[in-house]
Symmetry: D2
Subunit: 293 residues, 4 copies
Amino acid sequence: MSSLSSSSSSPVIATLLVSCRDRTGLVAALSDFVFRNYGNILDADQHADAETGLFFMRLCWDLRGFRLERSEISTALGDLAGRFELGWEITFSDERARVAIIASRTPHCLYDLLLTHQLGELGGDLGLVISNHADLAPVAGHFGVRFVHVPVDPADKLAAEAAHQRLLDEEKIDLVVLARYMQILSPAFVARWPGRIINIHHSFLPAFVGSKPYHQAKERGVKIIGATAHYVTSELDQGPIIDQDVCRVSHRDDVEDLVRKGRELERQVLTRAVRSHLARRVLISGNRTIVFG
Amino acid sequence: MSSLSSSSSSPVIATLLVSCRDRTGLVAALSDFVFRNYGNILDADQHADAETGLFFMRLCWDLRGFRLERSEISTALGDLAGRFELGWEITFSDERARVAIIASRTPHCLYDLLLTHQLGELGGDLGLVISNHADLAPVAGHFGVRFVHVPVDPADKLAAEAAHQRLLDEEKIDLVVLARYMQILSPAFVARWPGRIINIHHSFLPAFVGSKPYHQAKERGVKIIGATAHYVTSELDQGPIIDQDVCRVSHRDDVEDLVRKGRELERQVLTRAVRSHLARRVLISGNRTIVFG
Amino acid sequence: MSSLSSSSSSPVIATLLVSCRDRTGLVAALSDFVFRNYGNILDADQHADAETGLFFMRLCWDLRGFRLERSEISTALGDLAGRFELGWEITFSDERARVAIIASRTPHCLYDLLLTHQLGELGGDLGLVISNHADLAPVAGHFGVRFVHVPVDPADKLAAEAAHQRLLDEEKIDLVVLARYMQILSPAFVARWPGRIINIHHSFLPAFVGSKPYHQAKERGVKIIGATAHYVTSELDQGPIIDQDVCRVSHRDDVEDLVRKGRELERQVLTRAVRSHLARRVLISGNRTIVFG
Amino acid sequence: MSSLSSSSSSPVIATLLVSCRDRTGLVAALSDFVFRNYGNILDADQHADAETGLFFMRLCWDLRGFRLERSEISTALGDLAGRFELGWEITFSDERARVAIIASRTPHCLYDLLLTHQLGELGGDLGLVISNHADLAPVAGHFGVRFVHVPVDPADKLAAEAAHQRLLDEEKIDLVVLARYMQILSPAFVARWPGRIINIHHSFLPAFVGSKPYHQAKERGVKIIGATAHYVTSELDQGPIIDQDVCRVSHRDDVEDLVRKGRELERQVLTRAVRSHLARRVLISGNRTIVFG
């Protein structure tokens, strides 16, 4: 009997993410692993990509009555992984991911993340908010979240990044959310956080890569604008897309209107993407994502 | 070696739909049944409804190399069903469902279904088109589909329904699609086709039940109109909803504009619902549906 | 030269709303009135409703260089109104409407209105927030807006309404926004604020009138949920609709998911409706609205 | 008394499109022109673009009782145009534009345009369908529209274009609609039809310019795909956008699914754009459009 599941009133749920070459018997082998050990499967999703020949699975089960301790689960999964050449990752619902938000001056995405967190719907714990400006300190304070002002010296951006890294280590952060940070991170920093930095880009990528996308959108005369949440990679605005959304605009909308309408999209899309990531619904496959619904 | 899978160039796929009380081990038992018999699972979806305590699963596998003949599959599933008290239904991709469309005078839904069929994307075979008017005969003819004119005598509607039933039997129809038929079917007819008649209602149900929903929508001043595809039950416009869609309207739209905009919705929603049904993605649970994506 | 336009750095804009029986020459007469007096028309929208025979117009012009003082404008419009039997209302961009928000315990709509106001995009001044609970006092405080706790005694609801009315008078409020207030206002109170109370209903009206609309939506098995902002009239959830929006849901969404998804809709739709009202884009015609884009 | 308005049972409507430098008095001058001559304004839209300083207006009025004959209207407008330096164009509802469709092999856009025409909702007359393949001849035939097969010799594309031009002249065509024609037109041909060729591009431009946009979309892993109707200019996929629409996709959708979902978008967006153009709702301003609603 697992002491972990008994330590909490609501049941602890294990979530296993798997990716590997597709082959016969994977679904049965994985679900049988859970069943044989008296776990009750709550949710199972899988995707076999015909083009790449890869297989992805997300399996959630209730740990109440499960025969294996967490360390034993890892050992057993290690065996399965050897047999099927699996990439895998397991998380437990009572070990919540820790999140840092890096913002600049614009408040809308920050408010949305903080309010979602306050409502208990983010799916992780907010460790701190970092910003290169002091403006948003009262916002973090209002929600009772630590705020650290890390100014960025254009002549020495790496110093700010070193400060970021120290703070993220100190707070044991698992996920970094760029809530309209507006600064480009160095390849070295990005490389330290693969698949663990989420950015919101204020356009429907791949349209309008780079800066001032609303100006670009106005210039091109599009009738729909969008926002895109993606994992950050070393190539600007080219990382795997997690979520996107759009809204209709017209000739009546000037750039300020696009900015205002875009804000609604940005905050919704970013919060949705962060929630999907923290619910372990996102798998990365090359430069694309599988997002289980 | 299955003779069925070798009889065709593209692989035959078995699709199993299951509904039952939720209990531990269902996913493992069902996926293990496929795996033990050397089937390769292509798609698996399940849903456990916390409120009703019911479990639903859709399991697709490739029959190439599967050890059991179709008759043996049914016997084996019968055993499983007894053990777990399953409701189940299995279909094979080389035994396509046969579809009848019943229309009246408006052509848009009919064209959409016929064109989708011609493009090979409906997922079933069109047996015939029935209408209470002769107007659409050339449309069916253009697409090479049998058309039968069954006039409805208001004084004896059951005579028309008897003619319908004879035609549906004759063509061995599995699914009846009401493509803006505009006549109410008798409870007796509906009872003969449980979960096998799909209707398109030209509103966002449950708003605007009954006739002239666009007039009702104009009268109420809504800013969004919709269309709803649902299974027909004995209660008018109350059957399980399969799909819905909406579009934005304004004070500028008069009833004719609503009708025109609504047509786009109707045909898309109806065709999508029929495709979902024929792909065996829809399970009925009481007065609701589970539609696997 | 108007002293009004010179008192401010950004130009003062006059917005005229007109409704009347449709007749020849209305557009010309109204635009000519502006032109003859050296006003520059910035925006003009009109709508002739074929069904009711009514005409609606919204006309905005720059007051710089306009020959008439505000009092003279009113006199001149009074003359025109007599000639064409116009209903009319004129507002000036430097006389901002004053808004009160009445909330209960749920914070999302309140945050959205307060943040929109802080960003300078609401189009009016926030006088105060009233609530029947004290929970949201810190939210109002964070944004520097007055908060008044007016408990509601179920045995004497009119006492609370009397307190509301005193506060609204004291703050010279023009528009009351019910941000998920969850209490039904008395007909007498509503009658005192015709076309000046905006409510957010958490369903796609007219579907799911009344309480617990998300439970109703789950029960009916709809595939799309919505939210509706409307003017409050004495009939519950029957007032003129200003704006609506919807999002897609599935069998996977339980009532809590519907509530969460619905919150996004509620706050967007309510804020949009309030912005439209304050920008003088909404005219009421019977139980419907004309919302100029 | 105009002989034109009396020649038809439904009233003839004049639609004037104007573009010019913005200046005071334009709306009044133009609406006064109609009013002084006893015309009844049915619809008036205008847009002043703050960025470019340009003004656009669309004015519709009923010709019943209008004092001026059509030739006199042109003379009078010529005078106004001289005074205000207007670009202008007037059309009359009884002189319907003539439309040619150029298609290739894919039928969905063609069906949509032909059915819309048959329902009397296109707003113009279909002169003929041209295609570089014979496949769609029966489709045109079914709707009673002339079909001409003009094969394209890759070694001499100009010969096909010359044939097109002859057919368009012969049929007195005003608007050319490329309904998934898939061939690039020569700059010379395009130059002969400025603002009068509408193309449907199967992506959300400016994302995925050029060929195989659905493959590009799959490759990039976007979560939303789109379609764009635009005027054809000499730069590929760079012309003024008239309309766009999008739909959601996921990792489950392979390229074939994107193609199928995209078809729905393409036909809707193309037909909407053609209807907007034929209703004289579209004005071109540089590389952008104003589309009056």
